[in-house]
């Protein structure tokens, strides 16, 4: 079992902000010492560009950088490190696929299927792609419990070129049966390309891309204890190989002539220019930290805390609190989005902030979902390894204060 109080000691932000109750890891996670130290190790010991220098410190930096690729590949069960592309974040990874592959395969009358629960970053790029190519934008709906609905046999056709789907919703907390949906989609249309937004899944549960049998899977370092500025795009090598490059310039070319240019093979073909070297190098420390704790333990801990939170919130506030998403804990992650009486989400969040409780208020980059739910905004408290039941108790006291005040 995870001892969140012990884990808090690994995160220096709790030293500089005593009493901080951080319930917004869905937006971005906190960072342990080991990650922060690794960044400063690069800058103080082998700060240099990668791939270019023949001198020792550049070779060290290059090795450290490429080692992260290997660590990431192992972490998600990829066949090889050549399938790991470093981007800036989840958003850029999705845009890369929409741009490089989408513009290659989409024709007028083709279809893209996504869902109403997507984060804008897995919604807007596809919406724009369909409007640019004259394709049709199809959207899977949800039911009142926050589960995807719809008869895939009727929705997916041989014109459906791309299925873009989130693994875990950043609002509903729903863990979608991604493996089953992909299997079903491929049974209907073996040519369909599947893109999984795993931004809220990779930090919290074991992932194996071969087991999921998806074609692309994307996530952000900053949500999994790693630095900001790094995203991952995993793709099947054959697909990466056949896609157009995303950006052109240094690092991604093999030969340049006056009249033409030859590009490198994946993943370097997609990594134009100097990347976020320190951040990529430090990402592997985040993965090592997660592996030390164990993804199964993390998942079990979050389930435990969320069960406690739903219970406590229910007992303290009854039907004055409306929790969004599935009731079955097996199908929900560490996120609890809710509405509280008819208080405005920003007022609640501001009053909680006065007691050093950080929650998110707004539409959480999911406007279509909030429209569907019939609300303008919601509050969101999300739990991670450094949160324990004591954090839930403080949240409940904070909400009682809100009731008193407003």
């Amino acid at each position: 079992m995870i001892d969140s109080k012990k884990i808090k000691k690994d995160f220096p932000i709790f030293d500089s902000n005593p009493g901080l109750v951080y319930l917004d890891s869905t937006a971005t996670s906190l960072k342990p010492h080991s990650v922060i130290n690794k960044i400063s190790e690069y800058y103080s010991k082998y700060s240099s560009n990668i791939f270019r220098g023949v001198y020792r410190i550049s070779e060290r930096a290059t090795e450290e950088f490429e080692e992260t690729r290997e660590v990431v590949a192992k972490f998600i069960g990829a066949k090889s490190r050549e399938e790991i592309v470093f981007t800036r974040n989840t958003t850029e990874s999705i845009n890369l696929v929409a741009y490089s592959l989408g513009r290659q395969v989409m024709r007028e009358g083709d279809e893209i299927l996504t869902t109403v629960m997507e984060h804008h970053s897995n919604f807007v790029p596809w919406q724009v792609l369909t409007s640019e190519t004259g394709a049709i934008f199809k959207i899977l709906d949800i039911n009142d419990d926050g589960y995807l609905i719809g008869d895939l046999d009727r929705i997916i056709t041989n014109k459906t070129k791309i299925l873009a789907l989130t693994y875990v919703s950043n609002v509903l907390s729903t863990i979608n049966p991604v493996k089953e949906i992909i299997a079903k989609a491929k049974a209907i249309n073996p040519e369909i390309i599947t893109v999984v937004d795993a931004a809220q899944a990779v930090p919290h549960m074991e992932i194996n891309v071969l087991d999921l049998d998806c074609d692309f899977l994307v996530f952000s370092s900053h949500k999994m204890l790693g630095p900001t500025g790094v995203g991952v795009l995993w793709g099947k090598y054959e697909l990466l190989d056949r896609m157009f490059p995303f950006m052109y310039g240094g690092e991604m070319i093999s030969e340049v002539y006056l009249d033409q240019t030859k590009f490198k093979k994946p993943p370097h073909k997609f990594e134009a220019g100097t990347p976020a070297i320190a951040e990529v190098i430090a990402l592997k420390e985040a993965i090592k930290y997660l592996n030390r704790i164990g993804l199964q333990n993390i998942r079990a801990h979050e389930e435990d805390v969320v069960k406690y939170a739903i219970d406590r919130l229910g007992k303290a506030f009854g039907d004055k609190i409306r929790i969004i998403g599935p009731k079955d804990l097996n199908t929900r992650g560490g996120i609890i989005a809710f509405n509280f009486e008819d208080y405005h989400a920003h007022d609640v969040a501001s009053i909680l902030d006065e007691d050093n409780i950080a929650v998110r208020a707004g539409n959480h980059c999911a406007m279509p979902l909030h429209k569907k739910l019939g609300i303008a905004a919601s509050l969101r408290a999300s739990y991670y390894i450094y949160n324990g039941k004591e954090d839930v108790d403080i949240l409940v006291s904070g909400l009682k204060k809100v009731q008193k005040l407003l």
């Binding site: 405005h344 989400a345 920003h346 007022d347 501001s350 009053i351 006065e354 208020a361 707004g362 539409n363 406007m367 609300i375 303008a376 905004a377 005040l405 407003l406």
Partner: protein, 117 residues
Amino acid sequence: MTIYTEIILDHFENPRNRGFIVNSTKSCHVSNPLCGDKINMAIKVDKEKVADIKFEGAGCAISTAAASMLTEYVKGRKVADLKKLNQKSMIKLLGIELGVNRIKCALLPLEALHKLI
């Protein structure tokens, strides 16, 4: 330091100048799509002064109190003088300190006023 002072809460719970003006000089609508706040504001100008001003809409405590306090403040004043009102004046009027994110709530009614004058 709380931003939910007694004055703010009073204006939130009993907003002044809430409602419509039948024969208004001008009316407008402003919104903040991020939090869903919406304000309709109408003004009646007579001899270059604000004869009446009213607002309607749904918002957080800060935006509602700001609308209430702003409309109370501008009533009877010369329109020409109100053009100068800015972020600083709103903070002074509300008497609270607001961070970069919450300041938007307080500025929404001011945006409406500037559309009207």
